[in-house]
């Protein structure tokens, strides 16, 4: 405990910021645990069998990279590329290579999901905020937003993006998974040892621990938060979940999930509450989980066709 405190102090000094600690590093049995909060999620870096200095350095870099991605793609800021695009007022904007790749992926997911995965659907959140919401938004209100939604109306000529006036995009549906893969790539370049990156349940592991064990990860049951439902062994790949029990409303016995259909403006009904997918990397897992959830009652049929491991909770 003392050791942890000392380390934390060290971090503070090195960060040159005593008002808030950027990250902490703790020794666990056989691995180091680096922790910080980015993108409103608890983030963990588990580093197997490394010395403290190296673990410290890797955690610092992981934090910096995650923070960079958050600042660059957060829709809550007014000084980043998302703000520029969303305030572009009928102008064409040239985006950098990293953003180009993310938009290309979003564009691909839009095509592959037949328009269900749509980065322009975020405005629906104004009506479906799910914060102690007990009433459905008005149908007229929803209909009024639909003209501003629909990625097919955007003009994407890589690297030039032209959004129709009043269309807003949000890369939040990809951002966290992307940050996991990006941080994993960063760590992979600097260590041959095993590690696990976990940003709020979106996970990547590079290989088995040095003692030969797989990493054990608990998938939380959205119905019973905090209780571990299922332990999964991961050796290499990405694990991501979509769906969240905390964000839904129940009106007249019907549960409305926070997964919205961009075509109708209404939540998807009848599907599982949460989908977890294990794939080659975290972005792939995340996209599969989200697109599965968008299929509603056909989520499992969709997943069966994808040739991947998955878990559903209802």
């Amino acid at each position: 405990m003392k050791k942890d405190d000392l380390l934390n102090k060290d971090n503070l000094l090195q960060q040159g910021d005593t008002s808030k600690k950027a990250f902490t590093l703790k020794r666990k049995s056989g691995y180091w645990l680096g922790e910080f909060t980015v993108m409103a999620s608890p983030c963990q870096i588990l580093l197997d069998n490394l010395d403290e200095a190296k673990a410290y350095s890797l955690t610092a870099q992981a934090y910096a990279e995650a923070k960079r991605i958050e600042l660059k793609y957060s829709r809550f800021r007014d000084d980043n590329i998302i703000a520029r695009l969303n305030s572009s007022a009928d102008e064409t904007i040239s985006v950098d290579e990293e953003t180009t790749r993310l938009i290309n992926l979003a564009d691909l997911c839009f095509q592959l999901s037949d328009g269900l995965f749509d980065i322009s659907s975020g405005v629906l959140g104004k009506l479906w905020h799910f914060k102690q919401q007990t009433q459905l938004p008005s149908d007229a209100g929803i209909k009024a937003l639909l003209p501003n939604i629909g990625w097919q109306k955007a003009n994407w000529n890589e690297p030039l993006l032209h959004l129709p006036k009043d269309m807003k995009i949000d890369l939040g549906g990809i951002g966290k998974e992307y940050a996991v893969d990006k941080v994993a790539r960063l760590l992979q370049q600097q260590t041959d040892n095993a590690f696990l990156v976990n940003f709020g349940g979106d996970i990547y592991v590079n290989k088995s621990r040095c003692n030969g064990d797989a990493w054990q990860v608990a998938i939380e049951n959205p119905q019973h938060l905090g209780e571990s439902k299922l332990m999964v062994s991961l050796v290499q790949g990405g694990l991501a979940s979509s769906g969240n029990s905390q964000r839904y409303i129940e009106v007249d016995g019907q549960r409305y999930s926070h997964i919205l259909n961009p075509k109708t403006g209404y939540p998807i009904t009848g599907g599982p509450a949460q989908v977890t997918v294990y794939a080659q990397n975290c972005v792939q897992a995340g996209m599969l989980a989200t697109i599965a959830l968008l299929q509603g009652e056909f989520a499992e049929d969709f997943l069966k066709a994808q040739d991947c491991r998955y878990w559903l909770s209802n």
């Binding site: 009928d90 102008e91 064409t92 904007i93 040239s94 950098d96 290579e97 990293e98 790749r101 993310l102 290309n104 992926l105 691909l108 997911c109 592959l112 999901s113 000529n157 030039l160 032209h162 992307y178 893969d181 990006k182 994993a184 790539r185 794939a279 080659q280 990397n281 972005v283 792939q284 996209m287 599969l288 697109i291 299929q295 009652e297 056909f298 049929d301 969709f302 069966k304 066709a305 994808q306 040739d307 991947c308």
Partner: protein, 420 residues
């Protein structure tokens, strides 16, 4: 309520491929903050018949300071050796010339084009260019240049503003440049029209030249594949523009040159040019066709046409080849003379420099590029042929009968670039 299953296709593989590419390092990060991009180049240029040979090394450093600002620093060193035509005509006898410095002399054999063999110089050039995005639509660029060789100093500054219009599909730019050059030839500035053998043929030690350039540019995105560019430039040059090393033969009625005088060019010159260029990106093969045409004219009577075309073909594994074809033709300056006639008054302005004569130049080249350690390396090989033309009847009398007074010139250039 169990509904009948729905059939889905497997999108997992497509997603795997796309998501793997996502986290890969961004290729060739030209804008990575805080680090310098380095471009290095080497050039070897060799003219036929042991005329001019040039070796040049260039190093360019570019730094993206932040999203809005970038700076470039460039250094070039080149070494020139060999001989170049001194302006005198070939003769059916050996000719002896006093060196331009006034020290010593050299002999040209019968029927050979007289070449000044004292051509040897080392040049160092340094330049810097700064670019800043002033606002969303305005871009500023400014720079300075300095080059020094043994007898020549060139200084210049430039500045340009560009603005995007029409949803960024159109860019208009306005630029200016000012240059101040000083020439300090060994043996001083020669007195034009005066014999090279006259002991009193020198004027001042050095002279200067000032150039003001204005450039108007328009770039238009035509469609996803096509980019078009139109430029007009006007340039006003004031000051010493004569080549102090060039002479003219004074030829008698029998074709024999028995005197040589220094050339003279006007102190004032206004040059204008119109430039049109189209870049066409052939999809999906990624081939790029780059075609341009330039029309140039000045108040010395020179007019020229240039057609240039490059075709970049992408091969596998980031290798590419780029064939290059260029055609240039020029009409002579109105004071160009192959030689002067003895007994006639010496004109105020005269030059026998073939570069101001009537000529055509053909260039054929090939560039080949491939990655080395993840960075682009390329080699360019080019062949130039310059055909000088004029009235063959001027090769008159015993002195010049049967001689080629408009010899062709050819050159080979090898250039390599590496970016890291």
């Amino acid at each position: 309520m169990q509904l009948k299953g729905k059939t889905f296709t497997n999108i997992s593989i497509t997603l795997a491929a796309a998501s793997c590419a996502l986290a890969a390092p961004v290729t060739a990060q030209p804008s990575e903050l805080g680090s310098w991009d380095v471009d290095a180049g080497l050039l070897i240029y060799a003219e036929s018949d042991h005329q001019v040979q040039a070796y040049e090394g260039a190093l360019s450093l570019t730094k993206q300071i932040d999203d809005e600002r970038s700076i470039n620093l460039k250094g070039i060193i080149d070494v020139l050796t060999g001989a170049s035509p001194n302006g005198a005509v070939a003769q059916n006898k050996a000719q002896t010339f006093t060196r331009p410095s006034g020290n010593g002399s050299y002999i040209t054999a019968a029927s050979d084009t007289p070449l000044d063999d004292t051509f040897h110089d080392t040049r160092v050039a340094l330049s810097t260019q700064y670019q800043q995005q002033l606002s969303r639509l305005w871009l500023y660029s400014g720079g300075a240049y300095l080059s020094k060789e043994y007898d020549y100093l060139a200084l210049s500054i430039n500045s340009a503003l560009a603005r995007d219009f029409n949803k960024r599909n159109t860019t208009a730019s306005l630029g200016f440049a000012y240059a101040y050059d000083t020439i300090d030839p060994e043996g001083s500035i020669p007195n034009p029209g005066v014999s090279v053998d006259d002991p009193n043929n020198r004027l001042t030690d050095s002279d200067t030249k000032q150039t003001l350039d204005l450039l108007f540019g328009l770039t238009q995105v035509i469609d996803r594949q096509t980019l078009m560019q139109l430029n007009y430039s006007i340039s006003d040059v004031n000051g010493y523009q004569t080549d102090p090393f060039k002479i003219l033969s004074v030829v008698d009625s029998n074709g024999w040159a028995n005197n040589y005088v220094y050339e003279n060019r006007p102190d004032q010159r206004t040059k204008q040019s119109l430039f049109w260029r189209t870049k066409y990106n052939i999809q999906p093969s990624g081939q790029v066709l780059d075609v341009s045409y330039r029309y140039f004219w000045d108040d010395w009577g020179i007019a020229s046409h240039t057609i240039d075309s490059k075709w970049r073909v992408q091969l596998s594994n980031q290798h590419f080849i780029e064939p290059h074809l260029r055609y240039y033709c020029q009409q002579a300056a109105n004071f160009y003379r192959v030689y002067l006639d003895k007994g006639q008054p010496i004109p105020e302005y005269m030059t026998a420099d073939y570069r101001l004569g009537e000529l055509q130049t053909y260039t054929i080249g090939l560039k080949y590029g491939f990655p080395i350690a993840g960075n682009e390396f390329s080699v360019r090989l080019e062949y130039y042929l310059t055909q000088v033309s004029g009235d063959d009847g001027l090769a008159k009398g015993d002195g010049m009968a049967g001689l080629d007074i408009y010899p062709d010139k050819s050159a080979i250039m090898i250039q390599s670039f590496y970016r890291f």
